[in-house]
């Protein structure tokens, strides 16, 4: 189980890199990240982690069969 979690967190790491790279990096005229690309990546990671935690809470509630209204 622990191994599964480790493997899973490493996969999350990889998918986060791919997503934030795709969303934030558009120009390839330089080798180094531009300032605004870096800001974009930082926000992307923060938003994704917050999103992920929120889904985790809702997911746990649904798994326990919590009744919910619209």
């Amino acid at each position: 189980i622990e191994n599964l979690q480790l493997r899973d967190s490493l996969r999350m790491y990889n998918s986060l890199t791919e997503r934030c790279f795709n969303d934030c990096v558009e120009s390839f005229t330089r080798k180094s990240l531009q300032k605004q690309e870096e800001t974009c990546v930082t926000r992307c990671v923060e938003k994704y982690m917050k999103h992920s935690m929120r889904v985790g809470m809702r997911f746990a509630e649904l798994s326990q069969g919590a009744a919910t209204s619209d």
């Binding site: 930082t42 926000r43 923060e46 997911f59």
Partner: protein, 87 residues
């Protein structure tokens, strides 16, 4: 899909039980990952103008999660031929 599934014969050996439990765990991990991925696409503004989720995004995420769950239940029922309710 439940651990104490009534459809599973009592005589299954330990190794099989372990494999079943592991498969179920992997299934749930992947369900969660796909849900996170999908609802991020549907709900979050990807121009990243701020690092907080706003109110609209947050309620979208809650509804998206609930709907994804419901779709997963329908699919599970259809795949298993309506015999048992998965998850």
């Amino acid at each position: 899909m439940a651990a104490n599934n009534p459809g599973v014969p009592a005589s299954i050996d330990k190794e099989t039980a372990f494999t079943l439990a592991q498969s179920e765990m992997e299934y749930r991990v992947e369900l969660f990952n796909r849900l996170v991925h999908t609802c991020f696409n549907k709900c979050v503004d990807r121009r990243y103008k701020e690092n907080e989720l706003n109110m609209g995004e947050n309620s979208c995420i809650d509804r998206c999660t609930a709907k994804y769950w419901a779709v997963n239940n329908i699919v599970g029922q259809m795949i298993s031929g309506g015999q048992q309710r998965p998850m």
